[in-house]
Symmetry: C2
Subunit: 229 residues, 2 copies
DNA sequence: CTGATATTACGGTCGTGACCGAAGTATTCG
DNA sequence: CGAATACTTCGGTCACGACCGTAATATCAG
């Protein structure tokens, strides 16, 4: 009908191919990945993957940086990441239909990145802990870091004040598609995740969005957030 | 890769067909529409439209209510509506590419519904007016009705207190794809739009999401919000 | 009941796009 | 320089799905 509708169909069609969905999902891990790594994620041949990457880039869903003989691809904008989260959210509250619970998904369900913050059981648990301690107030519509929360993050080694001035949404709930409950997103979620990675509490798994909790992480998360994992 | 990714591709593929995108876009008008009305929106034959409707319903993106010899279709859940808005938002800040500004879109650009609230020039102007008068505070991440705002809505004949207890997000910004600026969404946006329709200030156009500003509306919007339209 | 409208089901055509093999460009390394 | 790696372009095959014509079902009006 209108010009916007056809653009909407174009964008959706880009996401609507399984191989491209795999690529986008892999990039939702938050890291820029090379074409080669995305070949593994896509599950099709390098030639085909290359074509898909060209289409996604042409549609401005992903961006490409050439670096030597590698090409690094990433989600183009936070807006695109939010759109993909929105689709995930719809998928999440869809009926369980037939569910063959793959074991591959097991690690994902436990802990994974959601673009740039932590999701899965761990993400939800972290969020719950912050709320229970009065550091965070989350509603359906948004979230807020309390004064005690600001102090906590300071102690934890995160510069929230700097993060507050970024362009992105500062603090918001993000629906977890495995737990079906919200976890912490936005800039706050991102810096929290980054800090956990910096501390080597969490570790990215190769070619996956899944996160591994290190022994140090197990201890730190227990001491700092009271999580028994 | 994972089961969620393939579901994401399935959902996106549903939206990715032009005819189905037209249907969804029409339903984003917020009204339940009959299959016949959606035939016009889709731009394909009744048989084909029927097939599309079945697929969308099967994918839980739309819901169907039989009523006599009509079947009324509507967007299945607010979550689905938010997902579609998310896609629209990405389309909105994409490069203008080639833009053949259709005149059909003109009315849409001026005023239209966005699922259940007002968008377009009018939607943004209303939102700006509420902010300028200190009735509303909108940030990128959320929004809040001030005390003066609550009083204003009370005077305007809207029961905000009742609306506050609904399941839906209460107050939030929604990126306008024509104006490229946020307008008021959430429950507050919905009740505001409903009140304007009840007052006959706005009128839905047949088979379109576009809204017509009535003479009474012109006057009322000027007196109440200081809008010169 | 008959005729009209609304909607879905079936069957067959056709085009688009996903796919891979082979070959081509670019970059690094020895 | 030549070999190896990283990635893309080209060309051709094939299948899925969008489409419509025809026909069936359901509801309503007279």
């Amino acid at each position: 009908m209108t010009t916007a509708d056809v653009r909407m169909a174009e964008v959706a069609a880009l996401i609507g191919d399984p191989a491209r969905a795999n690529i986008l999902s892999a990039l939702m891990g938050g890291q820029a990945l090379t074409a080669g790594e995305l070949v593994r994620a896509a599950g099709v041949s390098p030639q085909t993957t290359s074509g898909h990457l060209a289409k996604l880039a042409d549609g401005r869903l992903i961006a490409c940086i050439k670096q030597g003989r590698h090409r690094y691809y990433r989600i183009a904008t936070p807006r695109v990441a939010e759109m993909l989260e929105g689709i995930m959210a719809v998928v999440a509250d869809a009926p369980p239909r037939h569910r063959p619970p793959s074991k591959l998904d097991e690690a994902m369900r436990n802990a994974r990145t959601c673009y740039d913050h932590v999701a899965g059981k761990l993400g939800v648990a972290l969020t719950d802990a912050l709320c229970a301690r009065g550091h965070l107030v989350l509603t359906r519509e948004g979230g807020e870091i309390t004064d005690s929360g600001a102090a906590f993050f300071e102690r934890f080694g995160v510069d929230l004040a700097a993060a507050r001035h970024r362009r992105r949404i500062f603090c918001r709930p993000c629906l977890d598609w495995t737990e079906r409950r919200p976890h912490l997103g936005g800039t706050v979620g991102a810096v929290l995740a980054q800090r956990c990675l910096d501390l080597k509490w969490l570790q990215r798994m190769r070619d996956s969005r899944a996160l591994l909790i290190t022994p140090a992480g197990r201890q730190g998360l227990s001491e700092t957030f009271g999580l028994s994992l």
